[in-house]
């Protein structure tokens, strides 16, 4: 375990998946998850984000938060690419249940079936849920 964590010697790279299941803005989970993901980027791990259930709403296009005066953090998802976080997985079943398609999302994602996402989730070293 301590060897795994020893990055300075070029330690083991682990597969981290951050699972997002909450809608943005109504609770703090989505914003907190982004903060943690951006921090994780500094440790040069194999990071992915999964968007499931109401978590798919985090990636909606066309957000305008002027009326509520809440911080619009949707641009941060576009910036993930710049931190080498390119594995964004969206569950097809969650999109369909909400009347959404990939075209409604503001970033390029990999849409997966529940079975495909389950397999990807199962091969992670660490899964962190928000």
């Amino acid at each position: 375990m301590s060897d795994d964590m020893d990055m300075e010697d070029g330690g083991t790279i682990k597969k981290f998946m951050f699972v997002n299941r909450k809608a943005p803005y109504g609770t703090i989970y989505a914003l907190e998850a982004l903060e943690v993901v951006l921090i994780s980027a500094a440790f040069e791990q194999d990071v992915s984000m999964a968007f499931v259930d109401d978590g798919v709403y985090q990636l909606m296009k066309g957000i305008n938060s002027e009326g509520t005066e809440l911080k619009n953090f949707s641009k941060t998802y576009r910036a993930l690419d710049g931190y080498d976080i390119e594995k964004l997985y969206v569950e097809q079943e969650s999109l369909e249940a909400r009347g959404l398609t990939e075209d409604d999302l503001l970033v390029d994602v990999t849409v997966m079936s529940a079975a495909e996402l389950a397999a990807t989730m199962a091969e992670q070293d660490v899964v962190i849920s928000h």
Binding site: Y25, G62, E66, G67, S74, R98, G99
Partner: protein, 99 residues
């Protein structure tokens, strides 16, 4: 009565409970994450559609816009701003916030 709901229908059953326990002629206002219930194709769309026969359904426009839903609202749902929210509270004899 005015029923105010703020939870996503695909996360909690507040929308479903409010629709079940609201009497005919009551008013429902969807705010915060409950505005997802007002969008076409969402998990509660059929229930909202059926409820419109007996209930007047409103959704808070700033909360829809904040979630990127401004152009996805179901026909028959009326939009209000914060001033409209206040008017609904003032017009109704009583209100209930569903948590």
């Amino acid at each position: 009565m005015l029923h105010i709901i703020n939870k996503s229908p695909s996360d909690r059953n507040s929308v479903e409970a409010a629709l079940r326990l609201a009497t005919k002629g009551s008013v429902v206002l969807l705010i915060e994450d409950a505005v997802y219930a007002a969008t076409r194709g969402n998990t509660a769309a059929a229930k909202i559609q059926a409820a419109m026969a007996d209930l007047k359904i409103y959704a808070l426009k700033p909360d829809l816009e904040t979630r990127g839903l401004a152009d996805r609202v179901m026909d028959g749902v009326s939009l209000v701003d914060y001033a409209g929210f206040v008017d609904l509270v003032a017009e109704q004899p009583n209100c209930q916030s569903w948590l």
